[in-house]
């Protein structure tokens, strides 16, 4: 089912599944930019089919952490990571992991909508075509399915061959989410997906994520506390590269265990 796994680990991964346990297990993760220690000793399990929000003041390492999960941080010259991110029993940080395959299973949506300067349809099927799907009918079906899931179908169904750049910012972002769903990923990483959008588009994205979590595991970075409170099952508070507190969202917003969490949530800094 999952080519990131090496064969002998399939059994192990099945056991992991049975426990209905975390899809991702981060263990003592450290990330560096050259000498700069950006993310420090993070250990956290991430539950399947739930929304996990990462909050914290800017520069605390949320994006760095997120981009390490799908190895996008490999692209940054001088960035390196230590520790483990277990995905079905495999440490994603080892060199033998096929990052191309990994990124098909762990999709990502960025802060600024980044549709390709192509038609809406081409945006959706680009990765499918690369994966070798040629059948026109099948491509069309998947494209429609993704657009429906991203609640964009009704708005664009008559203009699939129009440039994606002709969409509004909010629509572009939903297109990027739809695009990320095309390969049926297990996990969806979103880095402040609505921070560049107006409130209406932003709430559309929130609704969408609540629906998507029935099928996908979602990790979202957000600087908007209300957003985290509204949609996340679990919330993790990062501060200066450390994970200060991690727990159920309700719990954390009503009775934070740590003073720093309370200060941040109540807006005393950040």
């Amino acid at each position: 089912m999952n080519q990131v796994y090496v064969k002998q680990n399939v059994e192990e991964s099945h056991q992991n599944m049975k426990k209905a346990s975390p899809v991702l297990e981060v263990k003592d993760l450290n990330i560096y930019y050259g000498e700069h220690h950006a993310v420090k000793h993070i250990t956290m399990p991430i539950e399947e089919k739930s929304i996990t929000a990462l909050i914290g003041p800017s520069g605390c390492g949320k994006s760095t952490f997120l981009r390490t999960i799908n190895r996008m941080n490999d692209l940054i010259h001088g960035a390196r990571s230590e520790g483990e991110i277990l995905y079905g029993g495999i440490n994603l940080l080892t060199p033998k992991v096929d990052v191309v395959q990994l990124r098909k299973e762990i999709g990502m949506v960025f802060q600024r909508p980044n549709p390709f300067p192509k038609s809406i349809y081409e945006n959706l099927v680009l990765s499918l075509k690369f994966s070798g799907i040629r059948d026109k009918k099948k491509l069309k079906d998947i494209a429609e399915d993704c657009l429906r899931k991203a609640a964009l179908w009704d708005e664009v169904k008559d203009r699939l061959d129009k440039s994606a750049l002709s969409l509004s910012g909010g629509q572009q972002q939903r297109l990027c989410i739809a695009r990320a769903l095309a390969l049926k990923p297990k996990v969806l990483l979103l880095d402040e997906p609505s921070s560049a959008l107006d409130p209406i588009s932003s709430s559309k994205i929130e609704e969408l994520l609540l629906k998507l979590k029935e099928e996908y595991t979602i990790i979202i970075v957000t600087h908007n506390m209300q957003q985290a409170a509204r949609i996340a099952d679990k919330t993790a508070f990062f501060y200066q590269g450390e994970l200060i507190e991690y727990g159920n969202t309700d719990q954390m917003f009503t009775h934070p265990a740590e003073k720093r969490t309370e200060d941040y949530i109540s807006g005393r800094f950040g």
Binding site: N70, M72, L75, H77, V100, Q101, L102, R103, K104, E105, G107, M108, F110, R112, N114, P115, F116, P117, K118, L126, S127, F130, S131, K162, S163, A164, L165, S166, C176, R179, A180, A182, L183
Partner: protein, 295 residues
């Protein structure tokens, strides 16, 4: 002096400079076209040039110019694209890359007469291709390649990083991302650069004097066998281009109507280059509008 006055003076100077520039250009174009247009006629464009009598045309020169342009582009575009893609997308920021980039810059700023001498030594003499279309096109390749590399690299660099990340994050390999996302996004810039460089190649003369030669054999435009000596397609025959012809007529012409021929040829040359530029703009605008969906 108040800042308001300073502002006024600066503005005046700038506007004056712009005016001088535009006026010079307008005067030049006006002069060339005023004297040249009257010389252009169908027979001028479709007749062989004559060595002694008046009334020669520029058919062969025009053909040679386009042929050499085509051959040059055939060599430079694929090579230049690859070089530009390598420098922009793959090359690590280190000493070697820096060195390659400097080489490209030096090559781009070589005087074309030097490129011509180089072509004479290497292509004409060493490889023994004589004065020929091939030698000329290769010399112009040396002259044009760095330009295409630069144009490609610049156009690729102006593609936002987010697009590359978007592709890679979808589980698409780097090469496929470059091929299907980055290069298409940079395409309008690359294409405009290529067409503009075509104008430069089309008008080049110094690099061709010692490589493509100053004469053209008798051409038979019904003979399309590229191996035959009288075929216009033969890449191993010498070929005088339009700009070389202008130089040639002006320095060594002995026909009674040198002036008319030089003026007419200049006008044709300028019109062609102007055409390339306008074409570049139109194509660039068209693709841009198509990509951004405003069409």
């Amino acid at each position: 002096m108040t800042s308001k006055i300073t502002n006024r003076i600066a503005l005046t100077v700038i506007v004056l400079c712009a005016l001088v520039m535009t006026a010079t250009l307008a005067a030049l174009l006006g002069y060339i076209l005023y004297h040249g247009l009257s010389a252009i006629s169908l027979s001028f464009l479709t007749k062989d040039s004559s060595s002694f009598q008046a009334g020669g045309g520029i058919k062969n020169q025009l053909w040679n110019s386009f042929y050499i342009l085509f051959a040059t582009m055939l060599f430079t575009v694929p090579l230049g694209l690859c070089g530009g893609i390598y420098l922009s997308e793959y090359a690590k920021p280190n000493k070697l890359t820096q060195f390659i980039r400097s080489c490209v810059e030096v090559l781009a700023s070589l005087p074309s007469i030097v490129v011509g001498m180089f072509g004479l030594l290497i292509f004409v003499n060493y490889f023994g291709w004589q004065y020929s279309i091939l030698s000329g096109a290769l010399a112009l390749t040396v002259f044009n390649l760095p330009v295409i590399v630069r144009v490609t690299e610049d156009a690729l660099q102006s593609v936002p990083r987010e697009l590359r990340e978007g592709g890679l994050a979808l589980g698409v390999t780097q090469w496929h991302t470059i091929k299907t996302i980055v290069v298409p996004a940079a395409f309008p810039g690359i294409l405009t650069g290529i067409i503009l460089s075509a104008g430069r190649v089309f008008g080049e003369s110094a690099a061709l004097l010692f490589t493509a030669g100053l004469s053209t054999p008798n051409l038979d435009f019904s003979n399309w066998n590229p191996m035959s000596m009288t075929s216009p397609l033969n890449p191993f025959r010498s070929a005088e281009t339009l700009s070389v012809h202008i130089w040639q007529v002006n320095t060594a012409g002995i026909t009674p109507d040198i002036q008319t021929i030089a003026n007419g040829s200049s006008a044709v040359l300028v019109l062609c280059v102007l055409g390339f530029n306008l074409f570049a703009r139109m194509v660039g605008k068209f693709i841009d509008r198509k990509l951004t969906g405003k069409a």
